[in-house]
């Protein structure tokens, strides 16, 4: 079974006649680490939004983790999103909650008991290297730390897929690498990782499968590839 399967997917936005994505087909296996590159406006963000069901495709088929999006009803969307971990460039942490509460929130949603939460959250914070900062508010953290909170929140439910949308976009090189190392670690634990980035250095040094998107089309898809637009 493929973890992600896109079959001739097209997405056209209402006010723009030009297709954001045009007949894209893509397969990702379980436990893969895939990097998606492309300049701004190439269609990377649209691709990710289709996967998280923030957008619906105009045409084509999407199946993620065995869930066929055509058969997905609106009220089932929350259930889908609980199976996919997402990390955003702008972190999207809840500003009124502490580090611990932000991560715990992902578990509260699924109705996990407090005992389990108190057991799980510290372990995940440990994985991302944030032990001892449980009670900080997001405002008090550096960019890199905030992103690691976001990663902890995304993986605490042990999703099969982790989607990271330019997670290093707002970070300096040192913190960027901290974040990438955490993603690699999570991938080693068995989670499929889909990473989009602009950072040439990261792409080149990771030596992973690289998918290049340009003008809404996939122009190259190679293993152990380097950054090339």
């Amino acid at each position: 079974m493929k973890m992600i399967l896109l079959d001739r997917v097209t997405k056209t936005y209402q006010r723009n006649p030009h297709a954001a994505l045009e007949r894209i087909s893509l397969h990702v296996d379980p436990k893969e680490f895939v990097i998606v590159v492309g300049s701004s406006g190439a269609g990377k963000s649209t691709l990710l939004k289709l996967l998280t069901r923030e957008e619906k495709p105009t045409a084509g088929k999407i199946i993620v983790g065995g869930i066929d999006y055509d058969k997905l009803r609106d009220r089932e969307i929350p259930l889908l999103r609980r199976k996919i971990g997402v990390v955003f460039q702008d972190f999207k942490l809840l500003p009124g909650k502490t580090v611990f509460e932000n991560v715990a929130f992902a578990l509260e949603i699924v109705g996990m008991s407090n005992r389990e939460i108190n057991h799980t959250v510290p372990r995940v914070l440990d994985i991302v290297g944030l032990q001892g900062k449980e009670k900080r508010m997001p405002m008090e953290l550096s960019g890199g730390e905030r992103q690691r909170v976001a990663i902890a929140r995304a993986v605490v439910r042990q999703p099969k897929i982790l989607i990271a949308d330019e997670p290093t976009g707002n970070l300096d090189p040192k913190h960027a690498w901290d974040v990438i190392r955490v993603l690699e670690k999570i991938n080693r634990y068995g989670t499929t990782v889909l990473l989009t980035t602009h950072n040439q250095d990261i792409v080149n040094r990771l030596k992973r499968r690289v998918i290049t998107v340009k003008d809404g089309k996939i122009v190259s898809d190679r293993a152990n590839a380097e950054y090339k637009l």
């Binding site: 923030e54 969307i77 999103r81 999207k92 500003p95 509260e108 949603i109």
Partner: protein, 314 residues
């Protein structure tokens, strides 16, 4: 079942925590609620007081029927009986000739000329039936009955509800019924405006935190889990605002009624207002609480709705 209970507890807890952490926003929202709830409360009490004053005024309206001196006791009793069964008659008082004279003498104690004049003749005052109407607006109905030939033949003079006096009574009843309606209308308008203001305030408070709603949605939280804490928070606003506004008005009435001791402000009898407030205290508190809770819950539910929609465009 257990999971639902955990979720409910979390929603309530999260609402409480949000309330405390958003202290400044909460205070601002509650200040608006307190002011508007107080305005509604004061206008309700003012209206009640006003109605009371008007009631006292209209209670004095009556018709007097003047009987011929030649009338027999049986005729008198028959007449009383007839009038008693006329619709809109609230109360009947029979004043005999002697009683009328006594009252007249008492009223004119200081006026020696009049007293002298009346003592020189045989008692000229007629026996009188005083009729209090239930509804002063329909006083004409009673008058119509009194105009019937069989009753009219027993009267020495036209009833008091004629000529200038009739005109004055009609004016008063018309004015009071208009004022009463205006009072109710005013309360409704105030209540409506207040609801809009409170609604808008809560909407603004939630608008400020719309990012939170979208993030929760992205994390896969379902609608109740996202909306719940906001609704709880708004209900807390409502409860606190209601309690504060009732206490505020209470303090206001206590201060005013002692400051204007035994006096009244034009048509507003401050003592009556205070009494009314004290008598209906629990009802008022309960009503304010339910208004606060209702507006809080309804407006936060509506305000969160737009941020919780799933995009369904293809």
């Amino acid at each position: 079942m257990k999971r639902k209970f955990i979720t409910l507890r979390r929603i309530i807890r999260a609402g409480g925590i949000n309330f405390v952490r958003n202290a400044w926003l909460s205070i601002a929202a509650m200040a608006v609620m307190v002011i508007t709830l107080s305005i509604v409360l004061v206008s309700v009490i003012a209206n009640a007081t006003f109605t009371h004053t008007v009631q006292q005024l209209t209670d004095r309206i009556d018709i007097s029927v003047y009987l011929k001196d030649t009338i027999t006791v049986k005729q008198k009793d028959d007449l009383l009986n007839k009038i008693k069964h006329v619709e809109n008659v609230k109360e009947l008082t029979y004043i005999s000739k002697d009683q009328a004279l006594q009252t007249y003498k008492k009223q004119n104690q200081g006026n020696l000329d009049l007293l002298l004049a009346i003592s020189q003749t045989d008692n000229p005052l007629p026996a009188t039936i005083q009729i209090k109407p239930k509804d002063p607006n329909k006083i004409q109905d009673i008058k119509n009955v009194l105009e019937r030939a069989d009753i009219k033949s027993l009267q020495s003079d036209p009833t008091s509800y004629s000529g200038d006096r009739k005109e004055a009574i009609d004016k008063i009843t018309k004015a009071t019924s208009f004022m009463r309606r205006a009072g109710v209308f005013g309360v409704i308008i105030f209540a409506f405006i207040s609801m809009l203001i409170i609604f808008n305030t809560i909407q603004m408070a939630i608008f400020n935190r719309r990012d939170e709603l979208t993030i929760m949605r992205l994390l896969g939280a379902n609608t109740i889990f996202i909306r719940g804490p906001f609704v709880i928070e708004s209900i807390i606003y409502g409860v606190i605002s209601a309690v504060v506004s009732v206490s505020l008005c209470n303090a206001l009435f206590v201060v005013f009624s002692s400051a204007f001791n035994a006096s009244s402000l034009g048509l507003l009898d401050i003592n009556y207002a205070n009494e009314y407030f004290a008598q209906h205290f629990w009802l008022i508190l309960l009503t304010q609480l339910s208004i606060g809770i209702f507006i809080g819950a309804a407006s936060s539910t509506l305000a969160t709705r737009r941020y919780l929609k799933f995009k369904t465009t293809k």
